[in-house]
Symmetry: C2
Subunit: 325 residues, 2 copies
């Protein structure tokens, strides 16, 4: 071997070694059974000739949002938005209990008002604006608003391991959908920028909407009331209505995701269900069966018999949040 060939070979070997080092698509996931289960599933379903290979058209993955792709404690981000917008609404337009709770900054009182109170809060903060205006307002709000405990921007509290999993799946030909109990217009205001998930891959709860004419042009207005609450069984139904195909991979963190996980993993062929278990009080939150937000009880019992992968955040995630720029 001459010197040049030797150098070329050495260079090639170094290149390949760095490939292997760089090749881990999930660097924020610690090595172990969970990470292996995920990478083995993705490898198998995307390797031609493998017994579990799936054509690209069947590679559909669905992700819950709150508590799965980003945080949901001490209360949903969308609720934080609603509270802040309702606070600056004309108090005369509010019911006395809501006005009182908002004035006292008493989130617990708002959450204790039940369905009627929540509907009123959503109407005051979400309705009677066009979808465009609403989404621009959400974007403005997200640019500044801070989490009440961490002081971070909400969009900096997405889970880095999930950003990696989304990208890994898409790089291997998967379509990644959000299927959330949150409002679809709210999620679309940041999903493309934060998750690289475009509007047509976001499924969520739907407010009432109306097409009206304003200054001779059609405008789509958000109206009070909920047309579709995308939680529980409705998540499975919404997947059928919007996607029209059963997913092969589902990721959730609460009992509201249970039917979606069941629907996904009861299908024929290779299937993967992933349950995010919030076990990390030091770096995030620890909650499950008793939590008022993101209660995880039935799905936790069913994870093992159904062969779902349980992500223990404290054990399996090397980091929680992305670097803040």
């Amino acid at each position: 071997m001459n010197v040049l060939a030797g150098r070329a070979l050495t260079g090639l070997m170094l290149f390949c070694l760095s490939c292997v080092a760089l090749a881990d698509p999930l660097p924020s996931w610690r090595s172990g059974a969970v990470k292996s289960a995920i990478t083995e599933f993705v490898q198998a379903t995307t390797t031609p000739g493998h017994a579990n290979f799936l054509p690209a058209s069947e590679r559909i993955a669905v992700f819950d949002n709150d508590g799965t792709l980003w945080g949901e404690q001490p209360y949903y981000v969308q609720l934080a938005y609603a509270l802040e917008r309702a606070k600056v609404a004309d108090p005369a337009s509010l019911s006395a209990p809501l006005a009182r709770a908002l004035k006292a900054d008493d989130v617990a009182a708002v959450m204790g008002m039940g369905a009627d109170g929540l509907m009123e809060l959503l109407a005051v903060s979400h309705a009677d604006r066009s979808v465009d205006e609403f989404q621009q307002d959400v974007s403005r709000w997200l640019a500044d608003a801070r989490h009440p405990q961490s002081g971070l921007r909400y969009t900096d509290m997405v889970y880095q391991p999930m950003l990696e999993l989304l990208r890994y799946l898409r790089d291997r030909g998967y379509q990644t959908y959000i299927v959330s109990g949150g409002g679809v217009d709210f999620i679309r205001a940041f999903a493309e920028q934060r998750y690289s998930i475009p509007p047509n891959r976001v499924i969520g709860s739907l407010g009432q909407m109306e097409a009206v004419e304003a200054e001779g042009r059609m405008v789509l207005m958000k109206r009070p009331g909920i047309a579709w609450l995308d939680d529980g069984q409705n998540k499975a139904l919404a997947i059928e209505r919007v996607i029209g195909q059963r997913p092969v991979l589902a990721v959730g963190n609460s009992d509201g995701d249970y039917p979606m996980l069941v629907w996904t993993t009861e299908g024929e062929g290779p299937r993967l269900g992933i349950l995010v278990h919030h076990t990390d009080k030091a770096r995030e939150y620890a909650y499950d069966r008793e939590s008022h937000i993101g209660q995880l009880d039935q799905a936790l019992d069913e994870a093992e018999p159904r062969g779902w992968v349980r992500v223990d955040m404290a054990r399996d995630w090397a980091r929680i949040y992305p670097d803040t720029p």
Copy 2:
């Protein structure tokens, strides 16, 4: 130039000439203002550097189905399916007027029964089966059923010029969606095979649906009643709910498509509205303002002031249907 080089050059020139000859993406569209308007729009929006260039993420095209992608006369294909399935239902389960009309093969009487009669017909023919069973049954039916006048299979009565337009758009990076008044489960039973449009690109009317447990597994059952009638203004609302972006190109043929065309073409930047006008009594049907099916009145008046392209089937389409295998 030596002989070989000369031959290579000649070969290259012949190759390029044949490229040009083969390059017409719309061979079933006759040359003229309509075809030029379409190809100029697609060229402009997909040519980098052009003033009207659109990034791929904005290239969203929506198509009505009945009367736009395939025929709708003398009555909707889905109605033909419903009638045939209702005919073999237990007569004791039917109301007297519906049972009488079905026995007499009197389609006009069925259509004259109004909303309640139509709901009953849909319930008898569509509901209380799983979505999977329903779609398999539709596929079986479409494989044999024949149009009452042409004797052709319905799936052989899709419009060849529209198959070319769909393919042309997708080849240039457009997403092609169906936005139909027809039932989404019905359309998905043939859209992928016939139009190369996958389930998640089909928006349509929604029947009631329920997730139930059968033999220990989740099953999605179709139930009586309509949850979403995807016609008129609801087409614009459904586009926003499912796609979450305003399309740049819309194709329809009736007043039920008018709001979808308005919503699409009132957006900023390059927009194209296309209205299919059934003018071809010899090869298909001729109908517009007075038709009970696919009435085209307001949208026809608005086409010119709004700058929409009006496709005159008799004049603009060199052929109507694809070759039947």
